[in-house]
Symmetry: C2
Subunit: 336 residues, 2 copies
Amino acid sequence: MLDERKLAVLRAVVEDYVSTNEPVGSKALAERHNLGVSPATVRNDMAVLEEQGYITQPHTSAGRVPTDKGYRLFVDRLSQIKPLSAAERRAIETFLAGAVDLDDVVTRTVRLLAQLTRQVAVVQYPSLVRSTVRHVELVPLAERRIMLVMITNTGRVEQRVVDLPDVVDDGQVAHLRAVLNASLDGCRLGRVAEQVAELPERLPEPDRPMATAVLSVLLETLVDRHEEKIVFAGAANLAGDFSVGLREVLEALEEQVVLMRLLGEANDPSALTVRIGSENPYSGLRGTSIVAAGYGSGDNELARLGVLGPTRMDYPVTMGAVRAVARYVGQILAGS
Amino acid sequence: MLDERKLAVLRAVVEDYVSTNEPVGSKALAERHNLGVSPATVRNDMAVLEEQGYITQPHTSAGRVPTDKGYRLFVDRLSQIKPLSAAERRAIETFLAGAVDLDDVVTRTVRLLAQLTRQVAVVQYPSLVRSTVRHVELVPLAERRIMLVMITNTGRVEQRVVDLPDVVDDGQVAHLRAVLNASLDGCRLGRVAEQVAELPERLPEPDRPMATAVLSVLLETLVDRHEEKIVFAGAANLAGDFSVGLREVLEALEEQVVLMRLLGEANDPSALTVRIGSENPYSGLRGTSIVAAGYGSGDNELARLGVLGPTRMDYPVTMGAVRAVARYVGQILAGS
DNA sequence: GTCTGGCACTCAGTGTTCCCGAGTGCCAAG
DNA sequence: CTTGGCACTCGGGAACACTGAGTGCCAGAC
């Protein structure tokens, strides 16, 4: 259907449009990319590409602009991910290595990605489900109140205040702490529930109400946070680009749920997901594309991160940046 | 200088301009606000007000628009803070009461404020300096690695990994933990440094290297976080308002340091701070005003929160909302 | 059969002109 | 001091023509 040259023309159209942000005409195209044919020939090819839905004209007598379908073909078959330069990679590495805790890693990552791509970066906090319990701490606050702190192997800390039905003394708390740690240390969060199911029954009678209260809060913590936390940065990069509905995009960015779905789930964790314009699950994001990747330590994916920008973005470069950052974040998290 | 009626005219100009977003002329003004005088008289007054710099015309033969100086006078002398309705207050209360931890309180607050005012809300995390240590926890991670967790009375949790010079056993860690808690429990963060200064010397010789390492990380935590964390929400409310330089405002919002200075420090904690247009410390925010207030439990101010919007905002309503939210957040934090 | 140069056509964007009306400043009378 | 009257200003919209980039199509060349 589309011979080699037509594909070359499509590629040229995408590249030119991305860099100039103006509809590209046959003449300019034939000149800049030495295709070895005349503008007239290019025109014929463009007519075919338009008929097939890969490009379109904003109005008669204007140049052509790629459609979502055109970008899709470009991403899938006509482009190669562009790796970052050695200097950039080194910069990323040192910048991320300076992080002091999980919060800091995430904050740095999202800023880095925004700056690197000059677009809006989105990062999801590492999932709890796949991580494991490193330590559970109980801190008596008052006679009938203790604070529950749970630390995971990804450095995440969850804390909750627990109100107790009865007065307890420090000895009881210490005992419960010991028991909890003994049975949960190293346990995957997803399996905490079954692990502690009959724990109260193994305790002396007087400790059971306390244990039940603590456990119910503990389990609550786990399900609560299944709605993950997501942060973004670089919104300023959107401003000044009139091709996207700024208001709608900002609204979408502030909706955790929408963001969640944008990042999507990977079928293959190591692969990049690219969603172009209308492929998005949210109508306010018609003019934008999302490039996302999973990240994690080792081979289990912890969460996802990505970049959001106008459909007219430089896909090879963006994809390179996202991939690189995802890798480095994974390394950092694994190492800490 | 300005008699009663001129002030009334100024007030009317501000109110009309705020609600219509169009320069207001003498005729419409004389009609809508029954001033009891003719348009011609109003014109004379306006001429005086303009001469004094309170209002200005965008171009000859257009109505008048308040200047920053005009808004300032309006806020200081011509308006009263408008309290929220009972229903709104109840809504705030229940929404904030549902928060599970400090993070949640802050997130909810910022969203609430953004929605309430239909502008950009900014909230600073409660300051560490004035809060006190509730508990310090040491969790052995490996032979030469422990995690330090500090919990404050405001519910904030700080955590760091500490690399130790020597191998230590659990007993040593437990001992240090006990000593730390004994000397720091209830201690103001600002005074932690002096409190632990000669602590290593009071320990048995073999424990000292470990103690020094832990303490250095602990102190680092305190100074590190002195640069507070700030979050914002409601950026979407800015879009569509062409009177502000969207890009510049978004950039400012993503700069922690700038935000910090925007919220400013209160001379009187309970008072509202209003910064109008050019009064701002940052040039990119010429077209915007900030309404901020301190919040805290009891009488010590923990941090600040506020709202950022176009200079042409409804000050009485905005100020009412900021004040109310600040109060409720203070209550919530005090109660948890 | 494919490519190419030529040619007529289309139409967004720009600049020009013109006009309208809201709003002003000033003045003389109440 | 206030008011009605009046001439003046000027931004913004409508009508119009012009320009030029870009197109589609066709007939001839390779």
